[in-house]
Amino acid sequence: MASMNMIQAINSAMDVMMARDDSVVIFGEDVGYFGGVFRCTAGLQKKYGKTRVFDTPIAEGGILGTAIGMGVYGLRPVAEIQFADYIYPAFDQLVSEAARLRYRSGGEFWAPITVRAPCGGGIFGGQTHSQSPEGIFTHVCGLKTVMPSNPYDAKGLLIAAIEDDDPVMFFEPKRIYNGPFDGHHDRPLTPWAKHPAGEVPEGYYRIELGKAAVARPGTQATVITYGTMVHVCLKAVEESGVDAEVIDLRTLLPVDLDCIVESVSRTGRCVIVHEATHTGGYGAELSALVQEHCFWHLEAPIERVTGWDTPYPHALEWAYFPGPDRVAKALKRVMES
């Protein structure tokens, strides 16, 4: 066991997989010699060589187009998109190719690529360094989508994603790279070293895709969330005084419906929280699923607490970010009705 922040845990996952499987290759903008603008690939080129860890042209579509070709050859490419906000130029290769290849070839060809991308706000990055586009990808059949909330999960899920034979979108909430951010931006951040999930095995381990975790058991309501918002929701539960269960989805697609249904059927109340914009976000799918599967148990309308339907405004970051107060308010509303 070692104490790792999320960057170190992600780095460790790739290190472990590079050592175990020489078909794993890593590339992206500035990931090679420099080790990535967030340092997630630091030291890997030195350790595994320039032809397994390398820098690329600034062309996200080219990065994923070539990644697919490498995957078809038989490699396991792990491609970094520098910010999730810059994944759109690669959208066609993801939707029309990575997600469709196995299907259209009758199972003959596939590309086991892992696409890593830092996402989310709270770092004064402005509208093009703060986005959470996961809801676009969960609508695309053929893609798996993952978003960890802590170092331990990040490593185990990334290893599972790299080993997965389907394309996996792996979103890393950059706001919690260094510590579990609870939304109180005016208070000092606790480092991962002080958090149990900052204790990470140095070696190989997997966390299966498609399995949620109960971040906090509770009886009165169910909060369904993922990524940075897990910590915001835990804080909100604490501050609201509501004994709510907090579910950390970890994998958005395939989603762990059993875990959700079991919990909401028990509590009868549900709040869904994500940082992404509201309309058509993944929260909409979660809300639809909950009411379809728990309708007769629901005692209050399902609430969605999300980013607003605007770009991420630089100076108004904290008015945009769905903080603990907004979550707590929603918890109170579902309790009151």
Partner: protein
């Protein structure tokens, strides 16, 4: 500063005009190739495969030709292929055309939904398949069925895909002609133009990473060069010196849009190579020998770690874009017939006749033999069903979306099956 600027605005410039490209001739007009420059065959030298790129910058503006107007093979690019290979090439090209003609009829009979011919472009696919190693990986567009045929892939298998019948390995999922054959090293054809080109580069990069010996080749059309994927492929191939051949089949039309809308009015497509610092060869795409020779040259270069090559295959789309298209609406009906560089099959045939290695009688026999072979395969293929005539297991629809079926697809599968 402000003073200076006033001066500038003083020399009043003319009013701006938007240039919108226009082909030389439209329906009702006579085909016009007067602006077309066709250098004689055999004039261009063949550089050593390790020639540095700066020494190759004449090739994108020339046209590599081996077969001259008298059907003789001339010049440094003559690959000097054995007569047996030439006859085999003729056979594969003719088989491709016979197949196309037959399948078009089948589509017209309503036995399938869609078809695309490669008429006039058979030399591209067949000669290039010959010039490559059987283990090299092919990333084609939808108009290189000749690659599969030249690799002796069973027509029956292709027909079953076209019919989406019980023997369709793609389980009825794909539009006709969207072939896929891992065994033949023929990558799954995409309906989205151009996506295969950076994938070909990625495959070649992987082959280099693994110190393999296999190279990759990709094909797109002239119109598709405008897509991002062409740019990505060129950039990544150049940066990593990937062992790949990037082919642009310039058949001069993209559905109703002539090559001017892809930039063909201003430069050749081979010239794109200069900006990336990789060799660009422009070849008469209807000249079997020339196509073979340039492809061999590019393949040798790639195999020796000398990097990628861009090849522009200059040809003409003699048939309609697809069964959904009618060229009479946008180009002169006889434009194809008037195409100065002729027909690839006719030209190789005449060359073989010149070599006394072929004659009309044998050609007629071959034509008949291939027609019967296609008919026979077709008969068998139809016995496995045509589009809609045999039920495809509906729940097979949920397979292969992922390697293992996740719960939500399992639920949907059960809902479809009504339980």
């Amino acid at each position: 500063m402000t003073r200076k600027k006033r001066q500038q605005s003083a020399d009043t410039p003319p009013h701006l005009q938007l240039h919108v490209p226009e082909p030389a001739a439209r329906p009702g007009q006579a085909p016009d190739f007067s602006k077309l420059e066709i250098p004689p065959a055999g004039v261009l030298p063949q550089p050593p495969v390790d020639a540095p790129e700066p020494e190759l910058r004449v090739f994108p503006f020339g046209l590599i030709r081996v077969l001259d107007d008298a059907h003789q093979a001339v010049g440094a690019w003559d690959p000097q292929l054995p007569v047996a290979t030439l006859r085999e090439g003729l056979r594969h090209m003719l088989l491709t055309r016979t197949f196309d003609d037959r399948m078009l009829r089948v589509q017209r009979q309503g036995k399938t939904s869609f078809y695309m011919k490669s008429t006039g472009e058979e030399a591209v696919a067949v000669a290039q398949a010959y010039a490559l190693d059987p283990k090299d990986m092919l990333f084609p567009s939808y108009r290189q069925q000749g690659l599969l045929i030249a690799r002796n892939w069973p027509l029956l298998d292709m027909m079953c895909q076209i019919f989406n019948n019980s023997r369709d390995r793609l389980k009825g999922r794909q539009l006709p002609i969207m072939y896929s054959s891992k065994e033949a090293g023929f990558f799954s054809i995409s309906g989205n133009l151009g996506t295969q080109l950076p994938q070909a580069v990625g495959w070649a990069m992987a082959s280099a990473i693994r110190h393999d010996t296999r190279i990759a080749a990709g094909w797109i059309g002239d119109g598709t060069t405008a897509e991002a994927d062409f740019h990505y492929a060129m950039t990544f191939a150049a940066v990593y010196q990937a062992p790949v051949i990037l082919n642009v089949v310039n058949n001069q039309w993209a559905i109703s849009s002539f090559q001017g809308f892809a930039g063909g009015e201003r430069a050749t497509f081979a010239a794109r190579a200069i900006g990336s610092g990789i060799p660009g060869l422009r070849v008469d795409g209807n000249d079997f020998l020339a196509v073979y020779a340039v492809t061999r040259w590019a393949a040798a270069r790639a195999r020796r770690n000398l990097g990628p090559t861009l090849i522009e295959l200059f040809t003409y789309r003699a048939a309609a874009h697809s069964t959904s298209d009618d060229p009479a609406a946008y180009r002169p009906q006889d434009e194809g017939a008037k195409w100065p560089l002729g027909d690839p099959i006719e030209r190789l045939k005449q060359h073989l006749i010149k070599l006394k290695a072929w004659d009309e009688k044998r050609h007629a026999e071959l034509t008949k033999e291939l027609d019967e072979k296609v008919k026979a395969d077709l008969k068998e293929a139809e016995s496995y069903g045509t589009l809609g005539s045999v039920p495809v297991a509906p729940d097979s629809m949920f397979e292969d979306v992922f390697k293992d079926m996740p719960p939500h697809l399992e639920r949907q599968r059960r809902e479809l099956l009504g339980n």
